[in-house]
Amino acid sequence: MSATLEKGLNAFREVMDAPIASFFSSCVHCGMCADACLFYTETGDPKYTPIHKLEPLRRVWQQEYTLPGRLGRLLGLSRPVSDDELKDWSELVYDSCTLCGRCSMVCPVGNDITYMVRKMREGMSAAGHAPEGVIGATKRTIELGSPMGVKLPALQAQIRGQEAETGLTIPIDVQGADYMALLSSMEIINFPEYLGALARIFQQAGVSWTLSSEAFEATNSGIQIGASDIAREIVARIVTAAEKLQVKNVISPECGHAFTALRWEGPNLIGRPYKFQVVHILELLDELRRSGRLKTSGKEDAALTFHDPCQIVRRGGVVAQPRALLGEVARDFREMPDHGVMNWCCGGGGGVSANERAEHLRLTSFKRKKAQLDALGVETMVTACANCRIVLEEGLEHYNMNVKVVGLTELVAEHLMEQEGGK
């Protein structure tokens, strides 16, 4: 795939739609999106103002989709978007945006800035200005099946480990199961306990489930880099596997972008609705809780808080479920300031954590999360995204903070009511 400026500009034209035109028409340069963005609030550098990150896309819109712009071009008065300009913008579009969506909640004229950054990345990657780290992750997903290069034998080894740990069988390739579970590479490598937790919870709740040996990786760096063709291929693997096994539901794991990719972008990428439903693991757990199939006992005594993963909460609509689940297993649950749909990002979403070049900026902007935690003074932070979890752990270590990060599904599993068959 040879990337050129022309391909990049064509991708800009491809994504241009009525929402984007209405957003650019409405911006009054009030600067309020800057105050909503942790890359601005923690650096104070105006170049990180969210709407500014879209300047090349805006210039293409202005020059090609408005009458004054077209006249200006005709008369040679406007400066076309150049390759150097896109190169300069790579840092702004990839390193300083996690697609967290907070600016889209704040903009007084209603601009969904995140929607536009996601679309702009299509042009940036087509023009060859996506960062190396994210390109690498995407290549590995296409060639090896996962962004971290995790292959089936690695998963099988973790399955064996978790089976030994829990004394339960972890089903794989079961035809006609109700639920097909997916994992993120992060979970397979760093947090295999998630898999054991699923096995124990589903055993108690009597959920028929399976993994697929053909599609177990849920993350989709195609949507992070902004390459719809690649994103489509990654989603299609899951769709093919799920429809082959004829499962009724696919469970998106504790991973934010996996949920966005599969739940919201996937059908649009493959051009049709699925023959199954996509649920986030927290949605399923809360559903099991409400129907009385998931029973817990005992509660954590230590004060704890919940870090809302952006793609699951603000951009995914799973807001109440984690709180309901925490209510079952925690005695002293405390909300951070700005929790829920206005929570601050961990700083590593949207491909930023895979982008080595962004590391310094990411750790700097972690000061926002640090301030939220300092205000609360708790020592346990629960979350529901493996990527958030890694990024949070790195940030906490960097700032020498004594806070433990826990996955919500595992926390629920730890409090399962004892049953025969379980450990």
Partner: protein
Amino acid sequence: MSAMELLLWARGPGLAIAAAVFLFGMTLRLIEIYSLGRKRDLAVPRSQTPGSGWRTIFSRSLPHADTWRRSTLTIVAGFVFHIGLFVVLLFLLPHIELIRALTGLSWPALPTPLVDLATVITLIALVVILVSRLLDPVKRFLSGFGDYLAWTVTFLPLLTGYMAYHHLLLDYTLLLALHILSAELLLVVFPFTKLTHTFTLFIARWYNGDIAARKGVAS
């Protein structure tokens, strides 16, 4: 050309030209936006959410608590300026009479001293907004010619209107002519600057609300 001739031109051909440019320009802008269309969303929405776009059109006027804290000046100055501008524009008796002459619609005016006070407050708010644009690092960074042009053409009708009413500095007839001309300048510039947000923000908010609500989030 005498002041009276200028006034007559402003009230006759000037107004017709400005109104024509404004109407043509804004219609074009709306066509430019809507003709781009958008792809149908094939993802199953979390719930059917009729009216979510409309709700965001209203709800977006109320900032979140954290936004209030961080952008206090922008929000307060913005509210004061916009409310003041609409009070002056829509509730000064001569303005209502003009609207009645053009459209046949009319409504009760506010007492002139009250509108006069609103004008002063609005002018002050606009000055605060300009100073903030010049001093605030983010706003200064974002601002270009269009931002200062939009500010100027908004400020001038208020200033000349205030001066005409109080017979300040210049001859009343001339001030009235300048007031009408400045409003016409505003109309002409309107469709080609960020002033379009007056109309397009409703479209933007609607899309934002619709996109978020499909995912189950009130935005």
